[in-house]
Amino acid sequence: MAKQHKAVALISGGLDSMLAVRVLQEQGIEVEGINFYTGFCVEGHTHAIRNHDKDKQKRNNALWAAEQLGIKLHIVDVIEEYKDVLLNPKHGYGANMNPCLDCKIFMVSKAVQWVTENHKNGFDFIITGEVIGQRPMSQRKQTMPIVAHESGADDILLRPLCAKNLPATKPEIEGWVDREKLYNFSGRNRKPQMALAKAFGFSDYASPAGGCCFLTDKSYSDKLVDLWKGRGSRDYDMDDIMLLKVGRHLRPKPDYKLIVARDGGESKFLQGYRKQLPSIQVISHNGPLTLVDGSFDSDDYQTAAGIVARYGQGRDYDEVEATVTIPGQDVVTIKVKPLTSEQVREEWHV
């Protein structure tokens, strides 16, 4: 009996990776999915912190896609390893702090590692939903061979949606996969994918790939660069990644910044960090919880609390009462005059 060849698919949760999997399943190939969590992945939940996002669908797109496809999904935490990709990208950054090409190489190399470890279970090759010309950095005709080569995947990396535009890979040469039944999609026009989705009966799927990483977002990237500048070193941890996604960030002094909740949902989320970071809360009026990140002492209390008061319901009062809580110390209560909108300088906003 002929050996049953199996593939592992990089699953982002977007339409292209779903299509790539289904194309192979149609050929009788058994597929399992792998999804890498860098900490920067955009999920419905990350947006669901805010009050107005409460009604958004709370699902992880990769898990949801795997369930639609009837495949197992392995989610791998690569937060620590990913630091080197982000901090030292060999191929540089895109428009913001997005190291897309290095990221793709990294993820495919991790999939190679997974296939090597699971070869005994029949896994021989890797598939992705990449399409030539779809993304300006990582999915160009010139960069496709770079991903295959530098990841170590070489000819076991198959891109079913654009395979006919690329040299044949081992699964095609060996006859595990029928090249004639693969596709030749290219460019940013998504009509062919939409048509294939319709043919496969996919009516509900996450937005097309691209909006899947916070690093492609200018505002997020600006906050990350500001964090490094404020600390004098290019490093981060998981809490930093999370806190960059939440609140209004203001840096009135190089030494510290304020993370001001924009609504009750964010205040609730920031509560979880009060044992780690200093916090400011106006207590005489309703107002946002604010965390302080950096070096902060009593000389800064008036300015910092004045800014915080600006974003609360006491903003038009001559004076409000606020507490400053430093972890491990007694809570300090102060009276402060809320800053006017003109006094909150534009350059403080990160």
Binding site: H45, K58, I71
Partner: protein, 74 residues
Amino acid sequence: MSEFELDARRMLCPMPVIKTQNKAKELQTGDILNVICTDPGALSDIPAWARINGHEFVGHDQQDDELIITIKIG
């Protein structure tokens, strides 16, 4: 059969799923795992993870802002 608890409080998805997945690898078929979460998204994701990976979502309990999601290892 034994019962285990996993603390995934304050973690945002998919971290509770990753922690659950990694813990499940250490457990035996039939073991019960109670995952304590604060991210409401976990209530969608952990059962989905269980379904596609051959485990059983037994149910959940809400206590104030905490969710306790119970999985039976398959």
